[in-house]
Amino acid sequence: MSNLSNTIQKYRLPVNTTSMFVIVLFAATLLASMANLLVPVDSALHVSTYTITLLGKYLCLAMLAMAVDVVWGYCGILSLGHGAFFALGGYGMGMYLMRQIGDRGVYANPELPDFMVFLDWGELPWYWLGMDNFGFAMLMALAVPGLLAFVFGWLAFRSKVTGVYLSIMTQALTYALMLAFFRNEMGFGGNNGLTDFKEILGFDLQADSTRVSLFMITAVMLAIGFALSQYIMNSRMGRVVLAIRDGEPRSRFLGYRSERYKVWLFVYSALLAAVAGALYVPQVGIINPGEFSPINSIEVVVWVAVGGRGTLYGAVIGALLVNYAKSRFSVVMPEGWIFALGALFVWVTLFLPKGIVGWVQDRFSSLAQAPAQSQADDDLEEARHDESIMINKELAQ
């Protein structure tokens, strides 16, 4: 037994979490992409474009889950409003895609999106200017959620708002944004949102190659986000963040301005969510105020809880599993999903407090400890053996 574990130890590849994650993610992405583009449609191994888009969507949601895990799992900030940053990033991308439609809209107005023509608006509102430039639109898709997170975080953390009060405030934030975006006067398409997109950077959004490219870009961004988050959590900043989670007063009396750490972590997390949102919109083809709904943000927390908070890959696994389950479940019983989700949350909280990843780790470490124990027994036996030889020798003399 101990020989076996020694051998395993010896031949274990020296891979860390990040490279492991990136390898698995890229392998899966490449396989799926090749199965879509290279394998003929009638083959059993062919992956449909619908599936590719679905996978791309899952990866975006996994990135959102990672963003929530960064603040909740590592710093104890339970944000129930991360959907807001996700949706704002999505609206940034949506505005760009809307401007790309040009005169191909129903009203064939080269300048104004259809809903503005419908509302009898004469010209573009000032905040739509420049959104036809991809670079500028992406900058806005990041800057607006980032700034919102900074202002919100600065006000909340400086006033030492924590725990359930903070969670409620984040819910209020996303709810207020939802109500605002529902209004036609806001100039974001009201409750229909932004949709009917044609192309992105000149590529047809309906084409298989565009779909696969978007999917692969999403995988790359998720990998970058993962590596960056892993770097932050392995640096001293990560250790300070954990210290703030476990004892904020102590960390303050050690000389750390905890509110600054929390604000910057919150901004980083909001940026991750915004990137996820910006990648999500071209793949699903629509963004509407429903994305701001409080229930969406709560759902993200459930994904993280299921996967296991405090490990970045746990959040990703949780998001993928729960969303896959949602896709399957919604086909069978669309109205039942919300109840199933609630039941899942209760079940996980009661029986898997550390999530799936934590549960697997516990099982694994108890397996790993067994050989270590037997090794100690071996040592003890050896020592006894030596001792008995000594005694025998003495007796012989």
């Binding site: 932050i232 640096s235 001293r236 900043m237 250790r239 300070v240 954990l242 210290a243 989670r245 476990d246 004892g247 007063p249 102590r250 960390s251 303050r252 009396f253 050690l254 000389g255 750390y256 301005r257 905890s258 600054r260 750490y261 910057w264």
Partner: protein, 281 residues
């Protein structure tokens, strides 16, 4: 010519390889202790909803002293610590660290960086991280957000951590999670965390609560060895323990100082006897 000389002189100064540039030297906050007093607390009053937790309290602590604060529950010991460390703002009064630093003008993290370390009543260590990391986090380096992203432990800092691990007797538990330590070990780790940050003034709240007799004895030795290099203020209920370490004892009662002096003086003080025995009978 003189300008040239000056320029040459300052260039030489900059190019000298036997010393660090002055601008790169860490500027340790200077605590002015010309008058040998490190902490001035004067006329301090704090009230919570009309209840006077501190009432015109005056306290002076000398540099390098080991001072014990005693007093019944509600005498204001913890409130006093809260005010000194910036957690509570007083209604009236002043708190000066050395001659020149007004502690009331600073927040908790700034006061910690100025060199005031505090140990809580309940041991508060970061359970989810190792003993070593706990000490690393207590290092007095640049504690800003951005520098923490690239921070590495320097050899000097690593030595400092090892030295402190030896001082508090936790070298064997270096890589253990702090949450796995015993109660007494956690108390020592917390004292160690303060030591790593090289504070001038240590505020220690009930260090031996819940300790075994042996652990108490070790803690007493530890605190005595710290006095001199650091100034130590200990709040404690355990009279035996206070007697074993104290040189000067301050008795608090209802938010102000009732008596001050050596343990014997205090124990024979009429007011103290009246308050203590009066409350017991």
């Amino acid at each position: 010519m003189s300008f040239f000389d000056k320029a040459l002189g300052s260039t030489r100064e900059v190019m000298r390889r036997d010393q660090v540039w002055p601008m790169l030297m860490p500027d340790a906050p200077k605590v002015n202790v010309d008058k040998d007093v490190i902490l001035y607390v004067e006329g301090l009053s704090v009230s919570f909803d009309g209840f006077k937790a501190l009432n015109d309290l005056n306290l002076y602590v000398n540099d390098g002293e080991l001072r014990c604060l005693i007093g019944a529950n509600g005498a204001g010991k913890t409130t006093l610590m809260d005010v000194i460390t910036g957690k509570t703002q007083p209604d009236e009064g002043s708190v000066y660290f050395g001659q020149s630093i007004d502690l009331l003008a600073h927040k908790e993290p700034e006061i910690a960086q100025l060199g005031v370390g505090r140990k809580f009543q309940q041991p508060t260590v970061f359970d989810a991280q190792t003993v070593f990391t706990n000490l690393e986090l207590s290092l007095k380096t640049n504690q800003g957000v951005w520098s923490s992203l690239t921070a590495k432990i320097s050899p000097v800092e690593s030595e400092r951590i090892d030295y402190v691990l030896n001082t508090v007797g936790l070298q064997g538990q270096r890589q253990l999670l702090a949450g796995a330590l015993s109660h007494g070990q956690k108390q020592w780790l917390e004292i160690g965390m303060l030591l790593v940050s090289q504070p001038r003034l240590l505020l220690i709240d009930e260090p031996v609560a819940g300790m075994t007799a042996q652990e108490t004895e070790r803690t007493a030795e530890l605190l005595q060895s710290l006095a001199g290099e650091h100034t130590v203020i200990v709040v404690e209920h355990d009279m035996e323990f206070v007697r074993s370490i104290a040189r000067t004892v301050t008795v608090l009662h209802q938010g102000s100082v009732l008596a001050e002096g050596s343990m014997d003086e205090v124990q024979n003080n009429k007011d103290v006897i009246e308050v203590y025995l009066g409350s017991e009978t």
